[in-house]
Symmetry: C2
Subunit: 389 residues, 2 copies
């Protein structure tokens, strides 16, 4: 065959739904020479990763570590370990990822009750309360930050109702972790999963997870073996725990990257990082407003890190998105499912969340829309951005 | 919490069962800025990876791509897609990884017939023939190169018998691919998985897999949904195929690394690479022989890339292994299961397989054993190494 040339990616500003931009020190960490996965020095680094993940999840859960797969593997990790065939579960569905949870749970043999909300809106606690009437499910699961719609579902009351019903509370924090408050212990979350490529600004490839002691006990005392060998917490606990029993070969370089990415999160400080995400979201929103563009997600529950922008009438969203990529090296995301063609998804996650990037994407959008016949004054847009804090 | 310092790995020569040493250009590829996983430039690179994997597997199978997990995820990929509950399967077990296949298959609901051989020996075709008498299994699976024992099972005759019985042939090439002949189409293999961190000398984190059109048809026509959402080939086919339907976020940086690692394999040439592995194995073996050390695996079927060395009487294998690591920065592997304490596993995989490394590990072993009271003439050992080719 014709052997391909060495790959050289073009420069991009990653303002889609993830991956986000990665800090130079994280890229540097990826390039360090490898250690064996049972090397005492690597094992010590694994311990540091676990401790930093606990700090970022705001949990004391011992069973906190990165699954060796992407966020969807973390989702599957939670469900395969907690569900046995025939178990009843309640799942909130208000976008792609709630729907995915249903699919994963059903593949584990669960009988699923869906609690649905229109895409862009949150799952209301009252809906969960209604679904729990007369039911004794094993678990209730919701998506904290729906990446497909830009909506942030408040989960404290849902968690309370869940535990009142004697169920486990499972939370998807793939897009929320590191970009807005996520408080696993305060919120009494039993099982949580996330991704590295969103607000942690580490490349995709690992999925941080955490199980409460109660959830872990349920996983270890189950009747039937976990259907996935790769994701069985009973095996993973011996590998990531004190025994260091060989299970699989951990992705060494990706763990180097996660170590450095978590360090950067903690050096910045969670509160500072959340505030940065909030302020850049407000700045983007202010600029969009001047342009006559609105967010499609439910007012009062809009994500800071992922902005679903309604495409104005008469504008071909795909053409604009392609121009952003080819003419300005800016990647933004398209709508999915019922929102296909109706929204742009502008990510301001982790490293990407900066005032400079807000201005860059708005400036590019102004140029593209004006070329298409609109008449937006870019300087007014930028002034609105600057006016935020 | 006390934020850990930036991680800096100590230098190591990785001569264990994997990961192996990684070439500088592969480490450089890891450090390149990220692209989105649906970026046309990334998608084009995915196509190149698929083409290069076909060249390395020596197959025309369209469904050839890297699973976003380590080698064990690739194993699980093959079994969850091909097995439905109640299916009968035959699995060769002559080490850790055959045993793991049994566990994974049983979690898929398979009725497993084990064909066993003592650790260190191969699975004989006659044993498979015997197991197939009066049975109509859905698949037969064996491990090509048993990393836990250093034995290479010839598979052509096993494949022939398997197809004669109307079954699919599944092959584990985690340790063989890139280090010795692996001919997927010539050998009529229906499903194969490998790892990146062995003879491809890419960091761990991806698992190259390939399905024949026949295996793919069986996976797509199954009655029951694949129990793993993450590994369902029906979903992955749309993501890695022409449609590019979003499934999960591919590990961008790891795919950069695999692209470069595969390039290096093809630039060297498969035949040259296999010969290099063979010659360095023979050189190591010649040096060991002078020292009175023997390989534990079956004569005539010893792996070139992973050498199981019998620990001489009176020597504490763990002490020697630790000294190699701490005093010489050389990692070798320990024995597993029934071979624990009885063998050292010296890997000569990919980048690690060089004459310099053979001399390095033998020189260090001579020093350590002499310090412990033996009287080995190091110059004679090195002369034996040099005498090979």
């Amino acid at each position: 065959m014709q052997i391909p040339s060495t790959f050289q990616p073009p420069p991009r500003v990653l303002m889609g739904p993830g991956p986000s931009d990665v800090a130079p020190s994280v890229l540097h960490a990826l390039s360090l020479p490898l250690l064996g996965h049972l090397d005492p020095v690597f094992v010590q680094m694994m311990e540091e990763i676990k401790a930093m993940l606990r700090a970022v999840f705001l949990t004391k859960n011992e069973m906190t570590f990165p699954v060796s797969g992407t966020g969807s593997a973390g989702m599957e990790f939670c469900f395969v370990n907690l569900i046995e065939p025939g178990d009843e579960v309640v799942i909130g569905v208000n976008g792609v990822f709630g729907g995915r949870m249903v699919d994963v749970a059903e593949r584990c043999g669960a009988r699923v009750t869906k609690v649905e909300a229109p895409w862009g809106r949150i799952i209301e606690a009252a809906q969960i309360a209604e679904a729990l009437k007369g039911r004794k499910p094993k678990l209730v699961a919701v998506v904290h930050a729906e990446t497909s719609t830009g909506a942030l579902t408040p989960v404290e009351e849902i968690s309370r109702l869940t535990h009142e019903a004697g169920a486990l509370f499972v939370l998807d924090t793939v897009t929320s972790l590191g970009g807005c408050p996520v408080r696993i212990d305060d919120w009494n979350v039993d099982a949580v999963y996330s991704g590295t490529q969103k607000c942690l600004s580490c490349p995709p490839g690992l999925s941080p997870v955490s199980l409460s002691p109660h959830a872990l006990a349920i996983a270890t005392k189950r009747q039937k073996k976990v259907q996935s060998w790769y994701l069985d917490v009973n095996l993973l606990a011996s590998y990531w725990g004190e025994q260091r029993v060989y299970h699989h070969t951990a992705p060494i370089s990706m763990n180097y990257a996660l170590h450095e990415a978590l360090r950067l999160v903690l050096v910045e400080g969670l509160e500072n990082r959340w505030r940065r995400h909030e302020q850049n979201h407000l700045a983007l929103k202010a600029g969009l407003a001047v342009m006559g563009l609105e967010l499609a997600s439910q007012p009062g529950h809009q994500l800071w890190q992922l902005n679903a922008v309604s495409v104005p009438k008469g504008v071909d969203e795909a053409v604009v998105r392609k121009k952003l990529l080819t003419d300005f090296d800016i990647e933004i995301g398209a709508g999915l499912g019922p929102l296909k063609g109706k929204i742009w998804r502008i990510g301001l996650m982790g490293e990407t969340s900066s005032r400079a990037n807000v201005k860059k994407v708005l400036g590019a959008l102004v140029k593209i829309l004006n070329e298409a016949g609109q008449n937006i004054d870019g300087s007014v847009v930028l002034a609105a951005v600057d006016a935020v804090k």
